[in-house]
Every structure is written in C-alpha cells, then in structure tokens.
C-alpha cells in the first residue's frame, strides 16, 4: 500500500468479518481501527507499521464475527432468562398486590363493583406484562392464547360496563338471563342482551387481529376471535352441568333444556357475532409485528 494513502477501514472490516454484520457494527469497528491507525501515525509511526498495529487488534476475524453474530442472535434468547426490568419490578409487583387485594375483597366486601374493578385491573396488567414479554413467548401463546385472553377480557369488561351503566347492579342481568332466558323476550334484558351481542363484534375482531399480527394461522385467528364464546361454552355447557350433577342440583338436572338454552344464548349466538368481527382478519397472510 502506498505511503500516506488512507485505508478504507469500512471495506476492510466488511471483508474481514466474512459473515454479514449490521452496518452499524461494521462502521463502529472501522472507526475504532481508524483511531488506532491515526494515533499511531500521529506518533510518527510509518504507515505500514500503523496498519500492523491496528490490525493486531484482532487475532481471529472469524472468531470475532461469530461472537458478534452470536451476541446479535441472542437478542431474543437473552431476554430468555432475564425478564424485562419493568415487568419484573413494576408489573409483577402491581399484579401481586392487586391479586391480594382482589382476594381480600372477595371476603370482606359484599359489593360486586370494587372487586371487579380490581380483577379487571389485575388482568389488564397481566396482559400488559405478557405483551412486554412477547418476544419470549412461543408462537402458540403469542398467536392464540394471548389474543384469546385479550378478546375475553374485552368482552367481560364490556359486559361489566353495560351492567354498570344500564342497571347499576353488576351481574344482575347476566344471572337473571342465565336463570330465566324467557326474560329475553321483552324489556331491559332484551336490550341488554342485544347490546352485548353487538359489542362481541369488536371483541372478535380484536382477538383475530392480534392473532394475525403475531403470526397466527387461520385456525388460531378463529379460536382467538371466538375465545369469549368458547369460554362461555365451557362454563355453560360443561362446568355448570357437571357441577349440577355432582351437587345433585335437582332444578338444573330436571331442566336440561334450560342448560341447552344457556349454551345457545351465551355461547352459540355470541360466537356468530364474534366470528363476524373476526372475519376481516381471517383473510391474508400473517403480519409479523416489528
């Protein structure tokens, strides 16, 4: 190399690294070598000697390239063992406190409002924590369970809001309609139910959208969108009949049609509304989040 001709450090680093590295890394390493070279030159060292001093910084370029590549690919697995600092210190602590308060309120507070607010806040924080740790979650959790729970939480929250606004008596209409579905044919229960069905549409859309965003398959998007209805099916179609059987609930057992109607009202019909909302997000390929 002719004397006084400045080497192209960026090109040199790029060539030596052999494996593709981020341009930022190449520029930074090149800048470091250049400073060493310039320092040596400023001390009166010859060009070839300054070059040698700079290149002495790396014995094995291949090993360096591999180490840098490993560090870069560790981005996700790094987050593996160590939970996000804010999740660990803020969110999990808040969830623990709210969970404790929620449990305490179950025993000491007869009013249904405050415990519900606490539980919703707890669930919201839990979902927030899951979202901030999303890189550590596997595909099934990211594309199915998490969107499903978001959809379920939204549906529950909207039912709670509806009960609170319409009747100022949380859980009354849910209980009332469940026990006496014939109330649906007239009056406030009917409007309560219709409104609730309408709000299922955005809930289904939300679940399917999040699933698609996180790389969910079409089946995952359908399940995530219809998650609130599936949960209600589990409660009305399985949990209530099984508990009625074991508790020898004569009324429930002698009115199987009531149980079937419950499944229809709280699971089947809402499932249609949820899937209507999910429909626009069932088409097209997955959109990976940035």
């Amino acid at each position: 190399m002719p004397e006084r001709m400045k080497p192209d450090w960026t090109e040199l680093v790029r060539e030596h690294l052999a494996v593709p590295c981020m341009e930022d890394v190449v520029s930074e390493l090149a800048s470091h070598l250049e400073e060493i070279y310039d320092d040596a030159r400023a001390c009166g060292t010859s060009d070839s000697e300054a070059m040698r001093i700079a290149l002495e910084q790396v014995d094995d370029w291949q090993a360096l390239a591999e180490e840098i590549a490993r560090t870069e690919s560790e981005e996700e697995s790094m987050n593996d063992g160590t939970m996000n600092h804010r999740t660990k210190t803020v969110l999990l602590s808040a969830i623990a406190v709210l969970f404790g308060v929620g449990l305490m309120l179950l025993f000491v507070d007869r009013a249904a409002l405050l415990p519900r607010v606490v539980w919703f806040a707890c669930i919201a924080l839990l979902l927030r924590a899951a979202a901030s740790e999303v890189n550590r979650l596997n595909l099934r959790i990211k594309s199915l369970w998490l969107p499903g729970f978001v959809s379920l939480t939204a549906a529950s929250l909207l039912m709670f809001a509806e009960e609170f606004v319409l009747v100022h008596d949380p859980s009354f209409y849910f209980t009332d309609i469940s026990l006496r579905p014939n109330h649906l044919i007239s009056g406030l229960p009917r409007w309560f139910y219709i409104l609730w069905l309408l709000v299922q549409v955005p809930c289904g859309a939300l679940g399917a959208f999040l699933s698609r965003r996180n790389g969910g398959t079409r089946v995952a998007r359908i399940v995530a969108g219809a998650f609130p209805a599936l949960t209600m099916f589990f409660v009305c179609g399985l949990l209530i009949p099984i508990s009625a059987f074991f508790e020898h609930d004569a009324f429930a057992l002698s009115h199987p049609s009531g149980l079937a109607l419950g499944v229809l009202i709280w699971a089947a019909v809402p499932a249609v509304a949820l899937l209507l909302g999910a429909a626009p997000f069932l088409k097209g390929s997955t959109l990976q989040s940035a």
């Binding site: 800048s31 470091h32 250049e34 060493i36 360096l64 840098i68 560090t71 981005e75 600092h85």
Partner: protein, 113 residues
Amino acid sequence: MTKRISSKIARGSGELAILSLLAEQPLYGFEIARQIGERTGGALQFTLASLYPLLYEMEKRGWVEGHWQANQAGRDRRYYRLTTAGRKQLAPLRQEWRSFFQALDSLAGVSHA
C-alpha cells in the same frame, strides 16, 4: 511497570471495568479501551476483539445504551452511556468482585503487600 493481566481474567472483569468507566461519563469504544489501559497502568487492556462483543452483550442486556454522535474531525463515534439498569448492576458487581478477592486472598494470599 504493571504486568499485563491475561485476557481471560481481563475479560471476566470487563463488565465491571466498563460499567465503572461509563458511570463517570459516556464514552465511545476506542476511548473506553484507552482509558481502561491507562487507568490500570496497562495491566488491563482491551483490544477491539475483546471489547465490542462485551459491549454489544451489555447493550442487549440493557445495561448500556449506544448512540452515534458526529465529532469535529468528521468521524462518527458511537457513544455508550450507562442505563438505569446498568447503574443498578454496578454495586452488586463491585461487591461480587470484592468477595472474590477476599476469597482468593484467604485461599492464596493475593492481597496487596
């Protein structure tokens, strides 16, 4: 003249050395390596090959944060500064090394004369 410490030991202590320096002020890679060399009398020396993988790893852990800054010479430099998480690592790391030296001292008598 201080004897240069072997690269394995130097690398193990690298996190503490870098965090300690950055706790004082933001620095760029070349300056970090230079200051470590100078302030340890040449005993600890970081080459490009040993410094940057460590810096990138610390950055991924969220202990340090790098940002490009142009300087008057026209050469862009990537300055690293300590994050809150990095600052919190410093005290436990110092304590860990203190315990390590005490343990080594009681075993092999390596404390200062």
